[in-house]
């Protein structure tokens, strides 16, 4: 324990934050800046922090990853402690945490991909987009996933930003990705890709597409891939915004309009399709085609492809001892206070995607974390003296239960080692993709 933790913790409140992604860091920031004497222990299942900033943000979007500097600043605030390599639900239960801390804040994100619920969904070749993203970003749980890019056509189902990330990574050449922090195993497979045609298919019309104009702009200047709109799916009115005061929508539709007029000259093609609902995935030993229903005409259309990525949303993994909202796919809560029906569970809170579902940008979670911190701070006086356990005694018990507890200082060593590995390759870092390798770097 660092001196600052003991100083801040002396007589102050002790708070556990579960998860080290953006919302975990931002709720921590708001708590530590509040002026209330308190200390925060941040629990993370992996030895490395940052959640989806490390394992979700695409490798070719390095500027967004600069947000980690803000997380590192929060981590240096007196009263902060990182407890990495400890999985809540496996190594420590919610009940044990609630006995030990004055407040427990869940910031566990939305780690499960939603299902399409169509026949054939689980045929080989049909994947969750989220699994592919975690794989190319070097998540240790996904490094052994296998994606066969030996076919000519792939389809991404969904019109959100994750769908566009997946399509763009498939559309880029290995050279376009080589100097990013993409995992080495993914770069190797992508370099051998035979995919020539990528379909990005959604149910809605162009104005309903959820992806942002900024993500769409990335498709304008791909080295070997033209992007196009299938003219069968659209009418000119689709590109006219109904709200002239929304420049984001106007830009997105103008870009789609431009793409619909593209001349095609490059060897690869990415085509955006609209108004199509998937009804089945077909194939014998592996997937060979997707069957869609056209929303307007109800006509059936088959798209031949050997690979499919379903990108239709994510939900939070339920935790034992925490009521779950099945409808919204989050920990059941009333404005950040975990609740069983209408009755609030004292001392248990939630923020970020596990509070409100997977939406918004990284910064949306800052406002969300601040709101949850306000609820925590309002309730803290009434929590005084309620806990029976001691965080440092818990930490001592945890050291018996897990092989290695990772501190923020350990993470700094892992971070430096990854950067050293990346430097000779011209990459910002070469990520360690196994927990064992991460832990080995802490001893270096």
């Amino acid at each position: 324990m660092t001196e600052s933790v003991s100083d801040r913790a002396a007589g102050g409140f002790r708070i556990a934050v579960i998860g080290s992604g953006p919302s975990g860091f931002y709720v921590t920031e708001a708590l530590l800046r509040s002026g209330t004497p308190l200390a925060v222990d941040m629990f993370e299942r992996l030895p490395v922090p940052y959640g989806l900033v490390r394992f979700g943000v695409a490798p070719d979007h390095p500027k967004l990853k600069l947000v980690t500097a803000a997380f590192d600043r929060i981590a240096t605030t007196p009263g902060f402690r990182f407890i990495g390599g400890v999985a809540v639900g496996r190594d420590v239960s919610i009940d044990e945490l609630r006995e030990t801390y004055d407040a427990v804040v869940l910031a566990t994100g939305a780690d499960v991909s939603r299902s399409l619920d169509v026949p054939g969904e689980d045929l080989p070749g049909s994947h969750h987009a989220g699994d592919f993203v975690a794989w190319y970003n070097g998540h240790p749980d996904y490094r052994d996933c296998h994606f066969d890019l030996g076919c000519e056509a792939a389809t991404v189902i969904g019109h959100g930003n994750v769908a566009l990330d997946v399509a763009r990574i498939l559309a880029k050449t290995a050279d376009e990705l080589r100097r990013t922090d993409i995992a080495a195993h993914a770069l190797e497979v992508l370099a051998e890709s035979r995919i020539r045609e990528i379909h990005v298919v959604g149910r809605g019309r162009p104005p309903q597409a959820k992806f942002s104009a900024k993500e769409l702009r990335d498709f304008l200047d791909l080295e070997t891939c033209d992007t196009t709109i299938d003219s069968r799916d659209v009418v000119p009115d689709d590109f006219v915004p109904d709200n002239p005061l929304d420049p984001e929508l106007a830009e997105k539709l103008a870009l789609l309009g431009t793409l619909s007029q593209q001349t095609l000259t490059k060897p690869r093609r990415c085509s955006f399709r609209f108004g199509l609902s998937p009804v089945a995935i077909k194939g014998r030993s592996r997937m060979e085609a997707i069957v869609f229903e056209q929303q307007k005409s109800k006509a059936i259309e088959e798209l031949d492809c050997g690979l499919c990525f379903r990108s239709i949303g994510r939900q939070t993994i339920p935790l034992a001892g925490v009521p779950y909202d099945n409808l919204r796919g989050v920990h059941a809560n009333i404005e950040g206070r975990v609740a069983d029906g209408s009755s609030v569970i004292a001392g248990l809170y939630v923020c970020g995607w596990s509070k409100r579902g997977p939406s918004g940008t990284i910064g949306t979670n800052r406002g969300c974390g601040m709101a949850t911190a306000e609820a925590v701070l309002a309730d803290l006086p009434a929590r005084r003296g309620r806990r029976s356990g001691d965080p440092d005694a818990l930490l001592a018990r945890l050291r018996q239960r897990v092989a290695r507890i990772v501190s923020y200082r350990d993470w700094v060593a892992i971070d430096a080692a990854e950067k050293r590995r990346g430097a000779p390759l011209g990459k910002p870092r070469e990520k360690f993709v196994s927990v064992a390798d991460m832990l080995a770097a802490t001893d270096a």
Binding site: P22, Y26, K63, L64, L66, V67, A69, A70, S212, K214, L245, P247, E248, E251, G360, T361, I362, G363, T364, N365, R366, G367, M370
Partner: protein, 101 residues
């Protein structure tokens, strides 16, 4: 690129942008907020939360608004970081209605 605060902020200064900025790159004076282009990470989170649509990516600015890029750069260097929301300026709601928002 970076995002840029433009004229609609003047006289309103709602500062909703400050809450959602993940990197605290908003600066402020008595009139409006400014984005530090060196620290903005282009997440775009501030755009939809601005009640008066004052924030735009630099490339999307109309020709007669491009000068705001330099104003933001210059004023961000001269003014303090705003770490938390402020109350809107007096008359902000009236101005917002005037802007048709």
């Amino acid at each position: 690129m970076a995002y840029v605060v433009t004229d609609n902020c003047r006289g309103c200064r709602y500062t909703e942008c400050v809450t959602v900025c993940p990197v605290e790159c908003f600066h402020v004076d008595e009139k409006m907020t400014y984005i530090d282009p060196e620290n903005c990470i282009d997440c775009g989170g501030c755009v939809p939360v601005c009640p008066v649509g004052a924030i735009e990516p630099d490339y999307r600015l109309a020709a007669d608004k491009k000068f705001w890029i330099d104003v933001n750069r210059k004023r961000a260097a001269e003014t303090p970081i705003l770490a938390a929301r402020l109350p809107p300026l007096p008359g902000a709601d009236a101005r917002r209605q005037e802007l048709g928002r």
